[in-house]
């Protein structure tokens, strides 16, 4: 039996002029106990996808938890609801950066771990799986800065301006990193026999 409060987690437009996502954030700020559950369910795939593409699968659950814990702690201090998306991505990238910094300190252990991807989603066919692996390997060849911009722009489809706000860098730098990241990735894929 689903409680009535859970059936319609997001307030309707009549109740609030805010975008439903932002209304959900507002509910969390007002201490609605169910609000954070829905916030998690709404944004978890996006956060998780970004973390996976930046850090791999090894510590994905822990990193996801860390992001949402930081969101929970930071929400009461978030004044501008309309920047929630940017804020969430910034937290996600901070968690990813911290993780990669820790990994760099114990690289030898992590290299062994990242070679194993324990819970892969079954791919529809072998060719798809092969290409997906090539993209994954290609992303790993990029520097973290280039990889971040490429993931946010080409895979998460964020506009360059928002990426510049998330990373706190000029738009020109975003463009430059994107250009170099794409070039490196194109080279990698072509070396692996992919014709683009």
């Amino acid at each position: 039996m689903v409680p009535a409060a859970c059936v319609n987690p997001i307030p309707t437009q009549a109740e609030t002029p805010l975008h439903p996502d932002l209304a959900l954030v507002q509910r969390c700020q007002q201490g609605d106990p169910e609000g954070f559950r829905w916030l998690y369910r709404r944004f978890q795939p996006r956060v998780r996808g970004t973390l996976y593409r930046l850090c791999g699968a090894v510590a994905l659950d822990d990193l996801t938890q860390e992001v949402f814990m930081r969101v929970w702690r930071g929400l009461p201090r978030l004044r501008q609801l309309d920047i929630f998306n940017t804020w969430l991505y910034r937290i996600t990238l901070n968690v990813a950066t911290d993780y990669r910094r820790q990994c760099a300190q114990k690289r030898t252990q992590m290299e062994t771990l990242t070679q194993t991807s324990p819970d892969r989603v079954p791919a529809p066919d072998l060719m798809h799986l092969h290409y997906e692996e090539l993209v994954r390997q290609g992303l790993e060849t990029l520097s973290f800065e280039h990889r971040t911009v490429l993931v946010l722009h080409d895979l998460e489809s964020l506009p360059q301006k928002e990426i510049s706000e998330i990373l706190r860098i000029p738009v020109g730098t975003v463009k430059s990193r994107l250009f170099h990241a794409r070039a490196a990735l194109r080279r990698h894929l072509e070396q692996q026999g992919v014709t683009l």
Binding site: R37, Q44, G49, Y131, R182, L189
Partner: protein, 92 residues
Amino acid sequence: MNPDPLVNFLQQYAPTAPPPSPGLEARILNATRPQPRPVWHWFPPALAVAGLSLWLGVASAHLWQPSPAQVAEMEAWVEANWHGGDELLPLP
């Protein structure tokens, strides 16, 4: 559809994150649920406040002494309001 074939290729074959472990949501929600404050967080301050209040009460009772004028005033009030006889009650 993006005009750049590389971007199309990336979007088509982007690595997808494995599903979260079944307990992750509960783990996160438990961690964010407000926990009752442990007794050692609130008991010492509460004890300090209670002790201070008691000390102030006792100290003020001990320190306050009526002035001679106040004593005279109290005696006058008792005289004026005394409705009993002049004799003392007989001892049982």
